[in-house]
Point group: C2
Chain length 200, copies 2
C-alpha cells in the first residue's frame, strides 16, 4: 500500500507484523486495523508487553530455554531439582508442548536444532557438549526429539556419546506419528508417548 | 501455559497476540518464539513500530480514515481535491481495499459500520450526519457498501436522505459477490465493479 494513504508508522507496523509466522500481508493489515480500533484495550498493552519482553527475555545458560531469567524458572524450580530425569528437546516450542502435556516436574535440555549434514548443521552447532556435561546429574535422559530422519539421527548420535555413562537413555514411545512434529500434537498423545517411553 | 515456565512478560505477550484476528493461542506461541529468536531483527523493531503507531495514529475528522494526521493524507492530497467523486465505505479496511484496486484519485467517507437494528446500530451510531454535511461538495457519491442486507439497507437510507440534493448517487456494479465483503475481493474484481457502477 502507498505510504501516502495511511502514514509511515502504520505501513511499517503492517510490514513487520506480516513477517510473523501465520500472518501474511492481508492478515497483517486486518490485525493492524483491529489494533487501531482497540487502541487503548489492545494496541497500547501489546506495545508495552512487547517492549517489556524485549528487555526481559534471555536464554537459560543451563538448559537453553527462553525465560526472563537465567537459570530459568524450570531449572530453578525446587519441585524439579531432585527429579533425576532430563528431557532433551530440539526446540523451545517442544519444551512448551511437553509442559502443556503435564508430563511432571522434569528438567529439560534444548538442543537448538537437529543434526542435518545437508543443511550444514553438525554436532558443534547444537548444544550437545553442554548436554554431555550436564548428563551425570541425571539417571535417565529422554530423547524427545521429533520423529524425523534428522531427529532420529541426532538421537543415535547422543546415545553413542552416552553409551558408557551408565545413564538410562530412553526415547518417547511410538504414538508420535512418523514425520510429525511435537509442537503440533495434542496433549493426550504426548502424555501417552511419555508414559510408554522405551529404552534405546 | 503456566507463568512459572516462561516468565510473566512472555506469557502476557502470548495472551495479547492471541487476541489478534487470525491468531489463536497456539499460533501466538509460535509467533512469540519466532520473535524471541529474531529479537534484534524483528522483535525490537516491531515493539518500536507499535509504540510509534500508538503515539501517531488518529482518526481523520473529515472522512473517518485512520492516519497519522487529521485531516488525513487522502483528504489533503492535492490530486484528489478537485475530484467531485466521494466513495462511501463501511470500514477503513474497505477504503484500503479500494485504494489497492487503484480506482483513481477519489475521496472517501468511512461510515464506521452499517445500519443493523438487530445489533442496535441506528443512523446516529454511524457517520451519516457528517456524510450529509459533506455531500454538497461532491457531484457524485458512490455507495461502496458491502453487498449484504445491512449494507444495502444502509445504502437505501442514505439515498433517501440525499434524494433532493441533485447529487448523483451510484453503487458499485454487480460483480461483487452477493454476501461477500470488499476486503476479501481481488483487486481486478473491485476495479471492474467500480468501472460498471450504476445509478440508484
Amino acid at each position: 500500500m502507498n505510504e501516502r494513504i495511511a502514514g509511515t508508522e502504520i505501513e511499517q507496523l503492517i510490514q513487520l507484523l506480516a513477517r510473523l509466522p501465520g500472518l501474511g500481508p492481508r492478515s497483517a493489515r486486518r490485525a493492524v486495523l483491529h489494533l487501531i480500533k482497540k487502541k487503548e484495550g489492545l494496541m497500547m498493552p501489546l506495545a508495552a508487553a512487547m517492549q517489556r519482553a524485549v528487555d526481559a527475555v534471555t536464554v537459560c545458560a543451563e538448559c537453553g530455554n527462553v525465560d526472563t531469567r537465567s537459570p530459568c524458572s524450570i531449572c530453578t524450580d525446587p519441585r524439579r531439582k531432585d527429579n533425576p530425569m532430563l528431557i532433551v528437546v530440539e526446540d523451545v516450542a517442544d519444551l512448551w508442548a511437553l509442559e502443556r502435556a503435564g508430563i511432571g516436574p522434569v528438567r529439560y535440555h534444548v538442543l537448538g536444532g537437529v543434526l542435518s549434514p545437508l543443511d550444514g548443521v553438525g554436532p558443534d552447532d547444537l548444544s550437545i557438549d553442554r548436554l554431555i556435561a550436564r548428563a551425570p546429574q541425571f539417571s535417565e535422559i529422554v530423547l524427545a526429539v521429533n520423529a524425523t530422519v534428522e531427529g532420529q539421527t541426532t538421537a543415535h548420535y547422543i546415545t553413542d556419546k552416552l553409551e558408557h555413562s551408565g545413564i538410562r537413555i530412553t526415547r518417547l514411545a511410538h504414538g508420535v506419528p512418523v514425520g510429525g512434529e511435537l509442537d503440533y500434537l495434542d496433549e493426550g498423545t504426548l502424555a501417552q508417548a511419555m508414559k510408554a517411553r522405551t529404552s534405546l
